[in-house]
Amino acid sequence: MNREIYMNIKGLTIKKIHHDLTKKEYSSRELTEAFFNHIKKEDAKIGAFLDLSENMAMRQAEEVDKNISAGKGPGVLGGVPMAIKDNILIEGLRCTAASKILKDYKAAYNATVINKLRLAGAIFLGKTNMDEFAMGSSTENSAFQVTHNPHDLERVPGGSSGGSAAAVASEMAIAALGSDTGGSIRQPAALCGTVGLKPTYGAVSRYGVMAMASSLDQIGPFTKTVEDAALLLKELSGQDPMDSTSASFKFGADLLSPNIEDIKKLKVGIPEEYFVEGLDKNIAAKMNEVVKDFEKLGIKTKKISLPHTKYALSCYYIIMPAEVSANLSRFDGIRYGTREKADNLIDLYKKNRESGFGAESKRRILLGTFVLSSGYYDAYYAKAQKARALIRKDFDEAFKEVDVILTPVTPTPAFKIGEKSDDPLAMYLSDIFTIPVNLAGVPAVSIPVKNNSGLPIGFQLIGKHFREADILGIGQFYEKLYN
């Protein structure tokens, strides 16, 4: 192993790797080896990966090197070492969603996003830890291991995509994929100090991601820079016949090459409902610094109101478990993984589900069954669907006045491991700023606050449907202020 490459892993981005591979400064094989060497030292203390896929990665790297030698170039994501959340299928690799019920399940096909990344030349290093079936905000609900925040090993990385966030934050991957149902990309990105993007609902195919709440789930990237997030979104997005909710929309040139003159014309709204009691004072102060930085760029800000924000948490924790209870019914001991023996069919279901699911999964399945059951449906599920319509209308109204909305991502920085694991409601409250975005289906990105010395803090930019170019454009110019 070339020592110099190992030393240089730290500053690498997708853009830099593309440049270096094209100039033949190192090979994809050397780079991939350097990453595995780093992972083998670093991950013993972080616990980000559930499985490494070294053989597959080395084969992929050789393909990229072959293409470069043949003069075809590395491809847009050629040689980019990536980590993949363990609820996204890669053919031939174990895929567990961090659940005991799938501990022996091997994926039979590739998710659409995996096919797209492969075609673009990305390298898959391994599968990352998460809260079981993406249910949690700390990655403590994994059936297999705890993941530690690289900035303070006693603290959580956030969740549910905590392994993906921690892998990128500790330089064990250049980028990673996660899924975001109520904040599962943006919250861990904020707590680990990486960029995390939840695209517009329908922008990225969900085929091959294990469904949690189908009307809320989206796949998105973790990266070190906003520019890399835009590059990945471009590759991941597009209509897919295998996902009927994927949209035919195509992003324009402004996604990758934002123009400062256009960005200056954007109006940014700051909703008063997001700056309430319970928001960490330091985070509130940092949000003011971000506003000042935006003003330096020539962007105007104004106060706005999203009046139904306070109902979002209740609305989400009714709709999401309802969909969870339906989606997780397929894990019955018949179709996937291992099958425990029982005397009759009903007992077989119960036995497999009792031993296979963790406490939070059971809690949400039961809660979902409750809100959908006869006698309670109207008071809970039907009411929540109406509340969801009002929350979406808040955004529609706000976006008549402004182009982008700025908020904090989380009420507090990373909390201690074990601090909230006994109190589900306290854990749910850590998602209050990210949940409304999924309910409305709009895109949002979490970007690390620069000029910050303590635990990482993120700010969230929310955009209009399919206007990722606005939020990532502002983000790219914000980052340039500190380059």
């Binding site: 399940y105 091997k106 994926a107 039979a108 096909y109 609902y201 329908g202 009307s215 809320l216 009927s244 909710t245 949209a247 109902y311 948490l313 209740s314 924790y317 209870s325 019914s329 001991g333 018949i334 179709r335 996937y336 993984g337 291992t338 099958r339 029982a342 009759n344 069919l345 009903i346 077989l348 279901y349 119960k350 036995k351 589900r353 009792e354 699911f357 406490a359 059971k362 809690r363 399945i365 039961l366 809660l367 069954t369 409750f370 059951s373 006698g375 008071a379 809970y380 039907a382 009411k383 929540a384 669907q385 109406k386 509340a387 969801r388 319509a389 009002l390 979406r392 589900p424 409601l425």
Partner: protein, 96 residues
């Protein structure tokens, strides 16, 4: 809004095909009471005349052409199934 008790909890567990370990029953009940208590705020929200949002998108549904499509790789689906015999999926008997 509704009260939850151990009888309802047992019924839900039956519907969801989940067995609740008696050791954890009290814990599930108290968590549920807290969570459902939080939901009570929704009762104060006026939703009269609001059309419910029933999915993640307001895009119109489209259907594909009804074409014959031969699937050639069911082998992998069979391989990932817990039990199989001669290329067929093996499941426990439904009727005794």
């Amino acid at each position: 809004m509704a009260e939850i008790n151990d009888k309802i909890l047992k019924h839900l567990a039956e519907l969801a095909r989940i067995e609740i370990d008696p050791k954890n029953e009290a814990r599930f009940l108290s968590d549920f009471k807290n969570i459902l208590g939080h939901f009570e705020e929704l009762a104060n929200l006026d939703t009269s005349g609001v059309v419910p949002m029933t999915g993640g998108t307001s895009l119109k549904n489209i259907t594909r052409e009804d074409e014959f499509n031969e699937i050639k790789d069911q082998g992998k689906g069979v391989e990932s199934f817990p039990e199989s015999k001669d290329g067929y999926l093996k499941v426990p008997p439904v009727f005794e």
